[in-house]
């Protein structure tokens, strides 16, 4: 999953990534799969936000992801800017068995496009692929654990075509994943690592580039990402009140 060894002195750079999406769609599970290659069937909801790091080896360089896994609850919504403010990439997650979570995901995408760094790389991720019988060979093997909670939802409610069309429209990366089986999880992170413009990866003190909108498919524009900003600037004034 996560290539850890390769000790060749490749250039390495940090990439800030934020996970957004409705509560319980599987954000933390995706991170847990990516970072620990583990899955917990009854994961407790995230409180506040968790910060994790994980390296990702590309052929030409090492990317060190600095990941903010946010809690999806409404009362934390006003804190979100704190986490995406300096992010170079975002994973906006929905649950394929829950259409309302895609609506929520679209809101996040819109907010990121409005408020986040202009060059931010966004991936739309439909999670819980394993619950959708259509294309999961391992399905039989995984009865048990999650049975009760999902009996009724264990059907795809968001079609690949619909989500994909939306992602293309908005120039988002798009993946369908299962944190449970691990399907496509490392692929998402690798794709993000690859999509980050080279110019913003020039080591720790990257200067500001142009503020161009980076279309993932097209231009690998420089993005205006201050790797060291660490929340010193423009603190959003929202609290976590409801």
């Amino acid at each position: 999953m996560t290539d850890s060894t390769a000790s060749a002195p490749k250039p390495s750079s940090s990439v800030k990534l934020v996970l957004l999406g409705e509560a319980a769609v599987g954000k933390s599970s995706l991170v847990l799969r990516f970072v620990n290659n583990d899955f917990q069937p009854n994961k407790e909801p995230t409180i506040g936000a968790a910060f994790l790091t994980q390296k990702c080896q590309l052929p030409s360089r090492t990317i060190k992801f600095e990941i903010w896994d946010t809690a999806g609850q409404e009362r934390f919504a006003s804190l979100a800017p704190m986490y995406y403010r300096n992010a170079q990439s975002a994973l906006v997650v929905y649950d394929m068995t829950k259409p309302s979570s895609l609506v929520k995901a679209k809101h996040w995408v819109a907010e990121l496009q409005r408020q986040a760094s202009p060059g931010i790389v966004i991936a739309l991720v439909g999670n819980k692929l394993d619950l959708c019988d259509d294309d999961d060979p391992e399905d039989e093997a995984q009865d048990g654990e999650n049975a009760e909670g999902h009996e009724e939802e264990a059907v795809r409610k968001v079609s690949t075509a619909e989500a994909k069309a939306y992602a293309e429209e908005e120039s988002l990366l798009f993946y369908e994943t299962s944190a449970k089986t691990g399907h496509n999880v490392s692929e998402v992170f690798t794709a993000i690592a690859n999509a980050i413009p080279e110019t913003s990866l020039k080591g720790p003190r990257t200067g500001a580039g142009g503020g161009t909108q980076a279309a993932i498919s097209g231009g690998q524009d420089t993005s205006r990402v201050n790797l060291n900003a660490r929340g010193a600037d423009g603190a959003a004034k929202e609290g976590c009140a409801c």
């Binding site: 968790a50 910060f51 994790l52 896994d69 934390f76 609290g239």
Partner: protein
């Protein structure tokens, strides 16, 4: 109850018969401050948070000099004999002594009914006529100080039978005397059996409702329930069962509550069958506890207070009030989404029985004074600008605290934090670092603070954040660094502080010392009080708002034995707290344990020995504990902490 962890006194080292007279060490009074909560009312923070009440001391008026035992004159007055029917438990014995009418704590409504119903009403429990004990009351108190006569009040041990709640009794049923706490469960022991299922989920109802009855039976068998409803009757939280299942019951509770509220005589509690119901109205919320474990009303109310604190911690008081004043029918479930795990954690802690909650005090990791000093100095050295409080917590015990001089930490707030860190799995299981907005209501219930948390397992060598993934690590080797700030943008600052702290602690050897201390765990009772009959004790230093205890092993192994012990402690605690009588020492004998509660202005001590232990032996043990504390005080308690 909740005096702050803020005291530089060391008066506990003195003989309990010497009154230190310096109870108010916390009232330092500089109020200038630059520490702020983030939101929303900064100005209010200029004020030092009010000192929490210390009812126990106030009520007793500090009349008794430490350790010297005087029977209250009032205790000799005729008692109300209101509970003849269920006068079995310890608490009832005492009720006979209580001045019901003058007790500010006892609610008439709740006292009128039997408070400690037997679990098995039909079961014939040895119905020692406790009313006979009345005279015995005058001899129930002894002075377990060295040099005091220990024998005089002869018949005491024989008089008081059944020093147990129904829970304790039921759990103890058919257990042989020799080693009652070790015994296996009796088959027909309802409570023991139920305790094993207590924390299992009640499933959701099927669509056709076919399984409703079965589920309801499971639900009803729970020993304890907690409900939170809005004033208008909307369910907000229930420990067991989903909305659909419990809606009828919530409706009944709501009807009862609003009926009495309408009559301007709020319902505080009642007994139905073998269950005690206690209500706590809190602004727009009503909290309800239902217990079949024999806790006192005051204890249940303390538990409900704690759940309420958790809600404030999530929302802040102004925000809670605003929501309900804007819309009385507000559904609080949404804003509280995801905090069920925290409420469940608290609730289950109460059901299992926690010394910390019972005593409203914290436990510290035992460290040599010089070692703790190095840790404190390290904390001060690496302290970053925006830090408000810093804590090092090992397996639920406090290792060290750094705090501003003008702010102390409230045990209630710390309890919420510890619950979040150690009971709710998500923070530690995340395996990373966390940044958590929370309100600490004891500190300031109007605004949020931001808490940086990083866990690592002390059993592994690696300490870089990347290497710390203790998701499956046992509870006992968890070390958490908690750094709290009023500035929501200070995550990376505090993260750096944490890195510096860990590096320094490694360098100066403190980390190794802490790890060793964690690995050692609690000392066993026989190590602390060798040669005595004691099997376990709780010692609370009132000035430090901290407690210490030996390991539960080897005498109290497993959930049920521990719960039994905790029930006994609850009883003892109740016996010296739920009354105005100035009873300072309480000796009880049950068929499976003898116990002693001893209270002075400086400490509360609860000791347990097997049933055949003599009172003199118990008292000797108690004295041994006190002198151990005298020697160890600065090791087992954090006195002062690192203050800046």
């Amino acid at each position: 109850m909740s005096k702050k962890v803020d005291s530089t006194r060391s008066s506990e080292t003195q003989s309990p018969t010497v009154e230190s007279g310096n109870q108010n060490a916390t009232t330092s009074s500089d109020t200038s401050t630059s520490d702020r909560c983030d939101e929303p009312i900064d100005s209010s923070l200029e004020l030092r948070p009010p000192l929490p009440p210390r009812p126990s001391l106030l009520e007793r008026g500090n009349t008794a000099a430490g350790g010297s035992l005087r029977l209250s004159k009032r205790a000799a007055r005729p008692q109300l004999q209101s509970q003849a029917t269920t006068a079995l438990s310890l608490a009832d014995v005492h009720t006979a002594n209580r001045l019901e009418t003058s007790s500010p704590k006892s609610s008439p409504a709740s006292r009128a009914v039997s408070r400690k119903p037997s679990l098995t009403p039909s079961a014939h429990q040895p119905s020692i006529a406790v009313s006979e004990v009345d005279d015995g009351a005058s001899v129930r108190s002894v002075v377990p100080t060295i040099g005091t006569r220990l024998d005089g009040e002869s018949t005491l041990g024989d008089l008081i039978e059944g020093a147990a709640t129904p829970a304790f009794k039921a759990l103890s049923a058919q257990i042989e005397r020799a080693n009652p706490f070790d015994a296996v469960l009796a088959e027909d022991d309802n409570l023991s059996t139920q305790m094993q299922h207590e924390f299992q989920n009640v499933e959701s109802m099927n669509k056709d409702g076919q399984n409703e009855e079965a589920l309801l039976n499971i639900w009803k068998a729970k020993l304890k329930h907690f409900f939170i409803l809005s004033a208008s009757g909307k369910p907000i939280y229930s420990r067991h069962g989903d909305d659909q299942l419990i809606s009828n019951y919530i409706g009944v509770v709501q009807t009862l509550i609003s009926f009495y509220q309408g009559a301007k005589d709020p319902l505080k509690g009642f007994t139905a069958g073998d269950a005690r119901f206690v209500m706590l109205p809190k602004g727009p919320l009503n909290l309800v506890a239902v217990s079949r474990m024999g806790e006192s009303d005051a204890q249940l109310r303390t538990q409900l207070e704690s759940l309420y604190m958790q809600i404030l911690s999530t929302l802040t008081l102004p925000s809670l009030e605003r929501m309900f004043s804007n819309r009385p029918s507000t559904d609080l479930r949404r804003p509280l989404e995801g905090t069920d795990v925290l409420l469940d954690g608290l609730a289950d802690g109460f059901t299992r029985g926690s010394p910390s909650t019972l005593l409203s005090a914290l436990e510290c990791l035992r460290l040599r004074k010089s070692h703790r000093k190095v840790v404190d100095e390290t904390l001060l050295k690496v302290r970053s600008q925006n830090l408000l409080y810093g804590l090092i917590v090992a397996a639920g015990r406090l290792v060290s605290v750094v705090r501003p001089k003008k702010h102390s930490l409230h045990p209630g707030d710390l309890h919420l934090i510890f619950n979040m860190l150690f009971e709710a799995g998500s923070v530690k299981a995340g395996g990373g670092e966390n940044w958590i907005p929370l309100c600490l209501p004891g500190f300031n219930n109007t605004g949020f603070l931001y808490m940086y948390v990083s866990f690592f397992s002390t059993s592994e060598g690696a300490l870089s954040p990347e290497a710390e993934r203790p998701s499956s690590a046992g509870k006992d080797d968890e070390l958490a660094i908690v750094l709290i700030s009023a500035n929501k943008d200070s995550f990376f600052e505090l993260r750096q502080m944490r890195a510096d702290l860990v590096a320094q602690l490694e360098k100066n050897g403190s980390m190794a010392v802490i790890k060793t201390a964690i690995r050692k765990g609690h000392a066993s009772c026989s190590d602390i009080t060798p040669g005595t009959v004691l099997k376990h004790f709780l010692y609370k230093s009132r000035g430090n708002v901290q407690f210490t205890m030996p390991s539960f092993e080897p005498h109290f192994h497993g959930l049920i034995a521990k719960r039994k012990l905790m029930s006994l402690y609850h009883n003892l605690h109740d016996s010296i707290h739920s009354r105005t009588a100035h009873l300072k020492v309480q000796h009880t004998v049950a068929y499976d344990a003898t116990a002693l509660a001893w209270e002075t202005p400086l400490f509360e001590l609860y000791c347990v020995a097997s049933s055949n232990a003599s009172r003199a032996a118990l008292v000797a043990g108690a004295n041994k504990v006190v002198s151990w504390i005298r020697r160890e005080e600065e090791r087992v308690f954090i006195i002062g902490g690192a203050v800046f």
